[in-house]
């Protein structure tokens, strides 16, 4: 059966890999991202790959006021959404954030507030329709604050906690709320990083997302070994953790 799938942040590498897999399953897609030209290219690519219907809308998600009208446009196309994947975000420069309150707040805005704004609107719609999946890409960085990127981590952590609450609230409404926590992924966002054995490809992450949605999971650490790594990271006592160079 064709599903109506909304992908927010569709030009990000993980989202792109995920929507391609849904396209090959002939579903209907609605794509949202900031860059219109790239969005157009990705939409055309999805059509060739077999998506039944592809619509898109360019939108600067940092502008929270634009969200209600964005969702109106989407529901005008697809009155019922089966799956929404929120994947947009940036990887802030921690040093720049430390030097500027403005930069810090901007990063919190795009990585946490914009997602929470969208989730608030979407949750009400999903609660009404009494089924569907809300999936959000956060990060293993949200599990514990570390000096190397705690602004990013704090934003992702806020979204994860928000999702916990939402999952609790929507449990009776038959709505799946999935928190996706990827580890290191080889994407344009991390192009400058030296890649080691822990790095994964976006296609690998996408595959695990589809599976987690199918299996009605609550939280997905991906690739799977990050579950163990984060378990260790979370259990280190703070008096030791604060001395580590992480």
């Amino acid at each position: 059966m064709q599903k109506n799938i909304l992908i927010i942040g569709a030009t990000s590498a993980i989202a792109k890999a995920t929507l391609r897999m849904y396209a090959e399953q002939n579903h209907n897609l609605f794509l949202v991202a900031r860059n219109e030209a790239l969005l157009h290219t990705i939409a055309e690519d999805a059509k060739i790959r077999g998506a039944h219907q592809v619509e898109y809308q360019a939108c600067d998600l940092a502008d929270l006021h634009s969200h209600p009208s964005l969702l109106e446009t989407i529901t005008a196309t697809y009155p019922k959404l089966d799956i929404v994947l929120i994947a947009h975000g940036t990887l802030p420069n921690q040093q720049a954030c430390q030097a500027s309150v403005e930069t810090t707040l901007q990063e919190i805005n795009i990585n946490a507030l914009s997602t929470i704004s969208l989730l608030t609107l979407l949750a009400n719609q999903f609660e009404k329709q009494q089924d569907g999946t809300i999936a959000v890409i956060t990060s293993v960085a949200g599990d514990r604050g570390r000096q190397s990127n705690y602004v990013y981590g704090a934003a992702k952590g806020m979204v994860s906690t928000f999702l916990q609450g939402l999952r609790n609230r929507l449990n009776d409404s038959n709505v799946q709320v999935l928190d996706i926590k990827p580890g290191f992924v080889d994407t344009p966002m991390t192009a400058d990083f030296k890649k080691g054995a822990l790095w994964a490809q976006p296609e690998q992450i996408a595959k695990s997302i589809l599976k987690a949605i199918d299996n009605q999971r609550n939280t997905l650490y991906t690739p799977w070994f990050w579950w163990g790594i984060m378990l260790i990271i979370r259990t280190i006592p703070e008096c030791i953790f604060k001395k580590l160079k992480l």
Partner: protein, 448 residues
Amino acid sequence: MKLSGWGRYPIIQTENAYPNQPGLVSSLVSVATDQPKTTTQIARGLGRSYGDSSLAEKSINLSKLDHFIEFDEQSGQLTCSAGVSFAEILRFFVPKGWFLPVTPGTQFVTVGGAIASDVHGKNHHIDGAFCEHVNALELCLASGEVVECSKIHHPHLFRATCGGMGLTGIILQATFTLKRIETAFIQETTYKTANLAETLAKFEEHDAATYSVAWIDCLATGANLGRSLLMLGEHASEEEVKSHPSATETLQAGKTSKLNMPFDLPAFTLNSFSVKAFNALYYGKARQAQSQRLVHYAPFFYPLDSIQNWNRMYGKNGFAQYQFVIPKSAGLVGLTEILTEIANSKRGSFLAVLKVFGQGNDNYLSFPEEGYTLALDFKMDSTLFEFLNKLDAIVLHYGGKLYLTKDARMSEQMFKQSYPQWQEFQKIRHQYGAHQAFNSLQSTRLGL
């Protein structure tokens, strides 16, 4: 970041950019040309060229520019971004009954890279090189301007870009035609030959076969010199596959292999004894003079893709691949001289691959031309280059040349003598300002 070609020699420090849309490529390139030329830059895809042709101080990696743009289900004409890999094309289009018109021995190459190398396959004698199937391409020039090139639009730039090793600009997208297949399987026939003369005669005898390639035991000497397994292939029909018990789905794409070479093999594991043993075993694998089997396209075309990172087999110092072509007229004599030189040196290669090329095309730096081509891998050591220089002299003597995509060390003199159209090529680069904007370690070495 440290970067090397597939042969893992040389290794250099680079700065990398990963544009995921054409506009970003234009801005990257035009910014670079505004500044006085202090650093070199070149496009890169999946890094499967062996030597230094995709190495420069600045590397513009196009593997994230990977979209299908248009596909005509009637004619099989596909337009896609330069960073789309052959593997992705096969994964998606084989189940729909389409195949690449020409493919090299690995599917992990990008469309842009395949054009820049004008790659050839086992069907060169019938279908020519890959660029002969390219109807048009979009090229980002040094100025950042994007132009469409084809046999009609900017024909000289097209001929320079096809096989031009990325030295004319950055290929953004291409349009080429896929070919129809009924199944994902190949009807393979293997002939076991006793020596070089018999190998060449068998090639001749089967010149109508769609795919042909010979694996040579390059350490065999004397009467056995040039003994080979010659493999022929035809796309299998639905009928042939249906009657076969192991083939359940007729149009299934290949699966990604889970086999990996996770670390460098210690240098001592590769020596004349182990290579000789491997070669003897491989040759012995075919028990009869002629055998036939139905095989999926993946192991037929891409035997080495089944081991990820197989290049680590040659140890941490890497290896050099040496592929040359000599004209048909030099034939048996030329190949005998080169194979004797290799066998005497005891520098065996695990895989020595011999192929007959059909007529070449008129692209300025394209490698294939009518004759015999042999490709060999040699483990890197301190005396290797001296030995390869010796082979160069023989190749040049017979009017042959080396494949730029596999080269990491040939001299400027060797290149300029064996690629007579290099001056026309250079003229076009000057005309489009590419000589200042796009350079690789290789192009600098070759005096381009």
